[in-house]
Symmetry: D2
């Protein structure tokens, strides 16, 4: 997962981008970078580390220019080597270009082989660089044509921002897996000052107003000199197999997004509260208290408590200084990896029947430790309630889920999982229940009309129904590993 | 504010201390350090930064020995220069000594002048070093006598741990301002393994069991070779003026302690919930929702919601990556210093009457910005409820409160404060109400029998009634500055 | 200027390369790097800084494999940005390749434009990367053919080492501007262990024996598995204009090479002593002592003293800690930039007639300051003698000389220079005299038979007679700037 | 060994001190520091590393004030821990004080024990801190009296600079073991601008003029406000045993001093040339060439060549990038530790009879390797000539010589040493011959009249005749270890 942010026509553009990235820090803590354009030059600074580590006053001051683009990265494909840190920069057709990418290219292996065979020299191991090479090799006349031509060769998830000395482009793949929103900042010189961001919480921080989401298949071009924006749509004939439907990642609402973000125009916090309510209605239990696995579990637990009438209590405390711990397990301290992050409130749970609400179960290791810690702290019964379906299939669209064989739901039924986790009872929200929760939110019809039957959500990690044949094939390949 | 942690008779003592400090990180983020003793040597590593930055595997491995002591520091007196980073080490009477201190020495100026005049060379600007010099200059025969003699010269708050190659000492000043708890770890060699910690949350993390608090005026000595512990009490004739009563800092419960810590045997989370309940009963308001200023306001808001029947909502989101930001205000982004840390959930508060619960008002700048942000986000009415009395007086016992003239309550009545903060209404818990909340908790009589009439709490920051004449005099001096 | 070093079939290959680079450190202090090959992988570590800063035990240990290649860089074309630090690595036709380059590509602008126009994405600003891109785009079948094909497109100076998992290649351009020598190390496994180095001083350090120089236009391939070596020669039809003659950079002997290196089989120290002797015979002067501008001036001054009978004295002391100073000139310290590096020995030169021997005059700023310092120190007369002709033309073959208009000899006659430098007298060795000195050394005929009339030396910086039309054209362009 | 430098009444005092330390860098490469005084404050910056690493523009700019003092340190007593880095600072009698020390306190163990027993807390392991503590504990009324009183308690070598907000003091111990010179800088405001430096080469660099040496037992005080200087002499009754004679370290001339420094008013370069001449007269040999072990051997070899008529050649090249190498010996590279630093010029020495001139033999390991390298390079005969007597006794006055039992001359006669080193012949200058060389230099009588019979030189490292009983006793103790 990554975060992208862009802004045009504002003084202190690098500082606005810095604040934007700061608000998107939860989408990637491994590296950060900002590019600014000033006349015909693009200045870039990027490095491994948190936004506040990578950027100090002196770096921001050097990033001159009124238009900026930024990136925070959580290493997915490609490992965390230096050359993968974004924004990536290159000269394409003599023009300096800077690119920030959130998502994952599904046909990257094929593209990489093809490019290397035709003499390209690739520096990075991540897929983002491939996009630049495909653009550079396009023989189309204009830069916009090169862009459109390139996106037709890419299969997968890409919410992109591209900065040149004359334009800022915002691009979303044909399925619109990842969010990318347009907003507007007050400007001092009469021309509009546009903001583009993976999540709207960054707009709040910089004082911008949300306007709309970038549509699937859209290339929004903003002319820097005038602020004029135009929408273009790229042709998708190259990937005939692709179902041209919206496929919004439902995991953004389950886990990734900050609770104060509007994601596809739904407040993540509200979605989570509603998931908790649905979970209570569909999976009630007799208990003394509802507690949450913080942070995303908190609104879910509040929803569960509200719908069930069981009081919500603070039963697990999260240590926010974790992040960069390293320490190897020692003989005389058990379970400390989870314990470092989460401590049960002994006095609260002792002797009680507790419902624990979490957003999802992936490998199951954390859940198992939490349950063990709660019993050690004196809980009488621990009931696990998960506000999403079992994660059975890998994501090829940008979430760093483990391989299929490491997914607990791949090798166990929910009943077996309950035994394995040693919870008293365990229940999930089903895919239909989760979709039903999301359908209740009245959305403005900002997106393209043709919607998937399920409301246009990608639920491939629960169902294995990927949007394209390449992912489907990868899925089958991993299936064979499991068997 | 600082945190101290100690452990005896355990393999990987440095790693246990590391984990302990990690759990105490909220008590000080500016520096961290650990000393271990191994035979006749004390190994120490300390540096500026978070625990996870200061210590990596290689540092911990070098800290050999089965007995350790650690410190995290939030710069109070003395600025953040290198020589102030604890644990401090010295040779006293030929014996290597390492010391960790939480608190503040009230008569440090007098001691510093006296020491320098008699030829001592002081390296640090903080008060902790003075303790070592006083010990070093004591002409008593035994180390324990030197200790007892030294503490008789110190006025103020000190919860100390002192490690020598043969003993670990835990010391609390005569008023017991700051918590210091004793616990026990499972040991593999038959001898007891003791743990000492500023808060019990560190005991949870390392798997230790809480036993009791160190009493005011107590020197607990633990012989490292045998694990034998003995209590001693030092003589207080040197400070006749001192009221020998327990004076537990009530702000530990209002703000400092982690919610999962037992502080003087009361769960901080429970105390805060009860403060919120009392606040609702004494200061009701007609509103659509109760929201919290995270993190310490959350249980208070839940208590307020519970007692008032008004639903608790998530209305302010805290960005946990703040910590080390630096950026200078820019013209085109207003209020961002608070905004970086707290973002109102626009969709939740829009058009609503909101009660905001916070733990305290010190300078008032944060409260004012929060209220402004909430109105900007569309709130209809913003009612401020504070779960403690107005902070009118500086703390000379270890909390880094500003000078008297910077305290908002010093220059305004609550009504004037409401005007200044631009809240609809503003109300505080009174000192009597706060004390009444704390009295409800049935405590085991672990502490000395003679208790202050108000239950043995220090509320000097609300009342100006300091425990000793030196602080009282300082208070008067600052009063003259205000007038 | 740069230094390259390679070694095959030896344990601790990375350490041998480290030592080799250490001996070549005088050829480049800005960055250092080593690649090792182990099975099908190439491991590389490189960074800005001196060899001893870039490499510590932990880096060398990670560079596994028995074959290594290294580079030290003095920034010439391209500035000192990270992407320029060598060895450069890439995958070419699916094979990992590492490349170290000493020299300068004269047609780099044309190649860069051509590559970017055909869709290549260039990371670095230096010319070395172009070589990799040309190889990657060659449609020849074998790697050796790709190499041969690529070198036909390159005009200029390149002494290269190229490491793949199966071969080490040593390449020298058709004019052989820069030295590259082959040596042999004792090997423990029966197969030969080859060493390649810019200068033989690196062979001395690692205990290798010098065998021969790589010839102009030669590609020497060494099969790593067997140690078998073969010579190939690439076709030069692509650059018809090129005079296919040896054009050894005479400045290597005048200034660059370490005095203990055999450069084209002549000891640099002996060449310099002989230059000093010739200088004395052709430009005698009545003086009390001969002093040197260290370090390369020392053997020249000894030669001058020997031929003239005037005693050689130590009159200027060089501070070897300079290197990385930075300090800005201050009002109250004059001339300190030269003074930091060179201090006249006041007691030695006071009241004396002094002949100062230096290797060359480029901008003239240093010479002027040295003369001023010597007069300030009390010298009665300062006579400047330069062991090479006036530098009138820029070097396009790898030496970082300034632009034509900054060369003192371009705008002044020797007589005008004497006035400008304020020396008593000034004299140079003429080009003919310098060539005559070099001709006296009996060389083994290791190089190709066809030699330039002047013995195969490049003296373009003195004469402006470049070896190819591109350099000739650049020279004319700069001439116009001067006029 | 260390270097000290001070300057008064000049703008950019920190930059002048920086340049001064730069010129003294050869006296200590482990750490560097500068203190400046500005009004009542002393600003200090110091760190491990070379002068050019420790100080960048930003550090120097922060060191405000017109009076500065600096230090470079080569770790002698005390190891290289942070607290030992000078200048040391403290408050003494309420006055901030900064101190730079060159030398070694012989009675430091006794002083340390005494101070610790009386309650002092010592931070550093080096002896310099003791001086501050003794000053701080003096009950004398004025600062100057405290100084005088303190120096009476110190036995050993100390050339000190002490900076307070009102004065700069220069102090030399009663025997004057280490040099400390006074000079004068041009000043812009009418008042004198004084310079104090361990060596005069630093005066040359900053443009100051040498005036005189500080005398043994002298405290020179300079009033910063007026520039007025006064000489005081401290009482030495406390060390009755001390022979009150000048005991100038002859090793400063043999090895330490930069060749362009006047040390006790003798040019080090001239002294070394004369040592070489004397060596040739007393120890002639039939040979083809004289070569030097650089750097201090160069003038000695030139003197030998001049007196013997045998030509001086460059036979060993020193690599000036060594300094901070680290690499562990490897099986396939022999002798590389010396080889990294010194490379024989194979073509020069091959088949020749060579006289090698070095300054001294301490452990003998380097000499042995040099001889081996020369034979490997093809030398026919290698004759070793040493321009000083065998080093048989440890120095307790500031030179970091090894323990007595590690000194080669302690366990072997010169004949045995010749066998051990495998030289053809080996000869030394005797103590009488060395003293005779030094006597020839006509010195101005700047120092106190009463001189030692040998001209006032300390030759204890050759003779074992120390100046005081404590050193004599230490010498005996080490003798017992040898036997």
């Amino acid at each position: 997962m990554c975060g992208v942010f862009g802004v045009t026509n504002t003084e202190n553009a690098s500082k606005i981008a810095y604040l934007g990235l700061f608000a998107l820090q939860h989408r990637g803590q491994e590296s950060a970078g900002i590019s600014c354009t000033d006349e015909n030059v693009i200045h870039t600074h990027r490095n491994a580390g948190l936004v506040s580590d990578v950027f100090k006053e002196e770096q921001l001051v050097k990033l001159e220019g009124n238009h900026a683009l930024g990136h925070v990265r959580y290493s997915t494909a490609g490992g965390n080597i230096g050359a993968n840190i974004q924004p990536l920069t290159a000269r394409i057709g003599g023009i300096p270009v800077s690119l920030s990418h959130n998502g994952n290219i599904v046909n990257s292996d094929e593209l990489r082989t093809h490019l290397e065979n035709s003499g390209a020299i690739l520096q990075a191991t991540a897929d983002t660089e491939l996009i630049l090479h495909i653009m550079a090799r396009s023989n189309k006349a204009t830069f916009l044509e090169k862009l459109m031509h390139s996106f037709e060769e890419l299969c997968g998830a890409f919410s992109l921002l591209i900065l040149t000395p004359t334009h800022l482009y915002a691009v979303v793949d044909a399925c619109g897996y990842r969010p990318l929103s347009l907003g507007k900042l007050k400007s001092s010189n009469g021309l509009p000052s546009w903001v583009l961001s993976s999540e709207t919480c960054a707009m709040d921080l910089v004082g911008a107003t949300f306007i709309r989401d970038i549509a699937p298949g859209e290339i929004l071009s903003i002319e820097l000199a005038t602020g004029e924006r135009k929408s273009h749509y790229f042709n998708l004939t190259a990937f005939q197999s692709l179902k041209r439907q919206h496929a919004k990642c439902i995991f953004e609402h389950v886990y990734f997004a900050r609770p104060d973000s509007l994601v596809w125009n739904i407040l993540a916090n509200d979605a989570r509260f509603a998931m908790g309510e649905a979970l209570a209605k569909n999976n009630p239990v007799d208990a003394d208290m509802v507690i949450a696995v913080p942070d995303s579990g908190v609104p879910m637990a509040m929803g569960y408590a509200h719908a069930s009438g069981i009081p919500y209590k603070i039963g697990l405390i999260r240590n926010h200084y974790v992040g960069r711990t390293f320490i190897e397990p020692t003989q005389n301290v058990r379970n400390f990896k989870v314990r470092l992050k989460l401590n049960p409130v002994r006095e609260t749970v002792r002797g009680k029947k507790v419902v624990v609400i979490d957003d999802s179960i992936v490998r199951g290791t954390t859940s198992r430790k939490i349950i063990e810690l709660l019993y050690e702290a004196g809980a009488k019964e621990v009931h696990m309630r998960i506000a999403s379906p079992p994660v059975k299939y890998p994501c090829y669209y940008g979430i760093d889920t483990p391989k299929r064989k490491e997914l607990l739901a791949q090798i166990m039924t929910p009943l077996e999982m309950n035994d394995h986790l040693k919870s008293e009872t365990l229940a999930f929200l089903s895919e239909e229940q989760l979709i039903a929760v999301m359908q209740k939110f009245q959305q403005k019809p900002t997106l393209q009309k043709e919607e998937k039957e399920n409301g246009g959500w990608c639920t491939a990690c629960f169902t294995g129904n990927y949007q394209d044949e390449i992912a489907q094939t990868k899925g089958y390949a991993e299936k064979r590993e499991v068997l």
